[in-house]
Symmetry: C2
Subunit: 124 residues, 2 copies
DNA sequence: GCACTGGTTCGACGTGTGTCAACATAGACA
DNA sequence: TGTCTATGTTGACACACGTCGAACCAGTGC
């Protein structure tokens, strides 16, 4: 259940992860780079998903139980659906712990997306 | 043709612009904040738009003529359509200069989005 | 004024996406 | 074992989105 293989924006590089794409402002993205990065932006392009993601990211320890964050105005199947989308996009990972399922956000993904936007100003 | 009123993620604060929303990791976003921010992520959630945006952002001076960036594999009407979407999302501004139309990216928008993702680490 | 080039808008088509109700599954507890 | 709660999955629906061709507007140059 490591994070490397499920994060399309990142690639394992031995001791950690590296961004898939150069900063947007550095050079025009190739079609492949754009497709990879767009998948993640798209995942955050829904208000419900953004709220869910923010709820998880801001929760203590960077992880939250579904039961803690499912109050976003949609039915529970829809919440589950969106969480799955976020997981497929590589933004969240999930883990079952007894009765409840916990979702957690990978800080490295946030950092990679930040770098994509602001270029070199976001230090490692 | 100022940038303040057309940038949903930002709000004019006298001498510049400020982010609309707190970092994702700070606290759960409200529905309103999520709707605002999601609009921009959604705009970048399409590979063609992402390439167009990157092409403009990486062009010298942060601006580019449509003729310079319309080689992304779709028809010109589609390019125009996507540029309009990016403009509506507040990521680009356009200006006609003689025969050609130039699009430019607002650096402050990129910085605001970066902050949204990585919190305080992305300085102004 | 007239033709030409660069961009945008319009109308239409097929596909993708968000949503829900209903059902299925996993673990806890008795 | 059986039942109850917590999540995930399935199927179906309406709506939004990306794409294109055709028509339309804005400047330029003759």
């Amino acid at each position: 259940m490591s994070n490397a293989k499920v994060l399309p924006l990142l690639e394992a590089d031995g001791q950690g992860v590296a961004p898939c794409c150069p900063p947007l402002t550095e050079r025009p993205m190739t079609a492949k780079e754009a497709a990879t990065a767009a998948r993640m932006f798209k995942a955050l392009g829904d208000p419900v998903r953004l709220r869910l993601f923010s709820a998880v990211a801001s929760h203590e320890g960077g992880e939250a139980c579904v039961c803690d964050i499912s109050d976003v105005g949609v039915s529970q199947p829809t919440v589950s659906h969106h969480l799955k989308k976020l997981k497929e996009a590589g933004l969240l990972t999930s883990e079952r712990r007894g009765t409840w399922v916990y979702y957690r956000v990978e800080p490295s993904v946030l950092a990679a997306m930040g770098k994509l936007l602001v270029g070199a100003s976001a230090a490692v």
